[in-house]
């Protein structure tokens, strides 16, 4: 387990999202229903950063082709995506948000 702090994530508002690179990996972190969620930031359909997209109803919508993924399970919700995004574990400690890249599933 290697927890990486996500600078500034604690300041995210509801359904706001931020993208960052951790050890060369594009990661997105968003806040939804008061909880933080982290997932791979590159869409599985074609190259686009999901952090440029939109969080709504528990899904992240890609800004390029409007593919939608469930932010808790990573499962694609509609065409054109058919491959899930990876989900990473998140914890909050002392008011800061941490992501574990090794604990990803999917």
């Amino acid at each position: 387990m290697a927890w990486h702090v996500v600078p500034g994530a604690e300041a995210l508002g509801e359904d706001e999202i931020v993208g960052l690179k951790i050890d060369g990996v594009d990661v997105a972190v968003c806040r939804h229903d008061g909880a933080y969620h982290a997932f791979q930031n590159v869409c599985t359909h074609q190259y686009a950063l999901l952090s440029d997209g939109f969080v709504e109803d528990g899904c992240i919508e890609c800004p390029l082709h409007q593919a939608r993924f469930d932010i808790k399970t990573g499962q694609p919700q509609c065409a054109p995506a058919s491959v899930p995004i990876r989900i990473f574990p998140v914890k909050v400690e002392d008011g800061r948000v941490y992501v574990d890249l090794d604990g990803g599933k999917g």
Partner: protein, 413 residues
């Protein structure tokens, strides 16, 4: 017989045909399913053919609608290199190019479109159109650094190819008959911003003039313009639009008028025959008129909706048209529809690389475009969908978030 076990044949194995086949299986169809395609390629999406695949940064396989193995896994029979000669609608049978008669319970026509030819063009090396993967491979081989290229037609396909050719070190000129680029497709104020972008990157634009002759014996050497000037070029790309492949449906007796006529569920005027994608003229309930769309969105989403309706669904296809283009490091996304003279207002300055513009007609917001700002376009889409009443002053106020403006206007609508 249940609709889920009927024999379905899809004619046309492009993006629409591929997405329809996928959608039928996802919706529970277990009967025989055959996808007939003239090209020797599994269904693929075309947008990258003028961009990443042509540039060489994206693999051809990235354009595939489904991985090649998925068709066998889902028991979808792919008949490639095959086309349909005729439909016998009363007998519910098709005559294939290899002489076979194939029966169907339901038929879906996704025959797409083909390039509009420029008359009098000689069949010589260096002259290209771009529609298929095979076209893309041929053009890519010609795009060598230092080459001179002329693009006939200032539409999206031509401008995307201009952008890709520049990246490959090719010198590019665009010849457009109309006084503006993108004349048929965007308001002029937006075309002007695209023109500025291309000029600033070194694309030479020849507007308001026609290419009247392609010069060269075995290989192209240039073109002659209507005003007599000769422009030298080793590559000529013709991108003057596409034509719907309606002939098969028309010969079978289907109604057609700039596209095969379908209703909002995708039904043609022939029993048990449906159509989806580029080839259709379909009603758009949001815009209140009939449309034929040449777009990725329509190829995918109309096909999915119609496929579900073929299995007994009853959902109209109703989306605000959406389109995108990538040119010169600029992602341009558009929603809605507007005439060339629509009143346009900007939110931000397009010269900065990031901006939006909105167009009103008859006092209603009808169209929006985002330059490198695709994520914000969703708010405009919702405003157009709901027919919200929103003024230029409000929407173009940079001091307020678009999300908040749209939220308030939609609540009031």
């Amino acid at each position: 017989m249940s609709a889920l076990t009927e024999k379905i044949v899809i004619v046309g194995a492009g993006q629409a045909g591929g997405r329809a086949a996928e959608a039928l299986r996802l919706a529970g169809h277990t009967g025989p399913l055959t996808l007939i395609g003239e090209e020797n390629e599994p269904p693929y999406e075309r947008p990258a053919l003028s961009k990443g695949v042509l540039l060489g940064t994206e693999a051809e396989s990235s354009t595939h609608v489904l991985p090649r193995a998925a068709y066998a896994e889902r028991n979808i029979t792919l008949r490639l290199g095959t086309w349909v000669e005729a439909i016998a609608p009363a007998a519910q049978r098709l005559l294939l190019s290899d002489g076979e008669w194939m029966a169907y319970d339901k038929l879906l026509l996704c025959t797409g479109s083909r390039v509009r030819p420029l008359h009098g063009v000689p069949d010589i090396a260096g002259v290209h159109y771009l529609r298929t993967l095979a076209d893309c491979r041929r053009l890519k081989a010609d795009l060598q650094p230092g080459a001179q290229m002329i693009i006939v037609g200032g539409g999206f396909i031509g401008l995307e190819i201009a952008s890709t050719a520049l990246k490959r070190g090719v010198t590019v000129s665009v010849v457009e008959r109309q006084p503006f680029l993108l004349e048929r497709v965007v308001p002029r104020a937006i075309a002007a911003a695209v023109q500025d972008l291309h000029r600033s990157r070194g694309v030479t634009l020849h507007l308001n003039t026609a290419a009247v002759e392609i010069l060269g014996d075995r290989r192209v050497t240039g073109i002659r313009l209507a005003d007599g000037r000769v422009l030298p070029a080793g590559i000529v790309l013709i991108g003057i639009g596409i034509l719907p492949n309606t002939e098969l449906a028309e010969a079978a007796g289907a109604a057609s008028d700039d596209g095969v006529i379908v209703d909002e569920f995708g039904r043609t005027t022939l029993p048990n025959v449906y159509a989806a994608g580029d080839v259709t003229s379909h009603p758009n309930p949001i815009l209140g008129r009939r449309l034929r769309l040449e777009s990725w969105q329509n190829a995918q989403n109309q096909a999915i909706t119609v496929a579900r309706n073929m299995l007994g669904g009853n959902v109209p296809y109703a989306e605000v048209p959406w389109f995108w283009s990538d040119q010169l490091d600029t992602n341009i996304q558009m929603v809605g529809a507007a005439s060339p003279d629509a009143e346009v207002h900007w939110r931000g300055d397009p010269a900065s690389g990031r901006a939006m513009a909105f167009a009103w007609e008859d006092g209603r917001l009808r169209y929006a475009v985002a330059f490198n700002n695709g994520a914000e376009l969703r708010f405009a889409r919702k405003l157009i969908e709901r027919g919200a009443d929103v003024s230029p002053d409000l929407l173009c106020n940079p001091g307020r978030k678009l999300k908040d403006i749209a939220g308030a206007a939609i609540q009031a609508a």
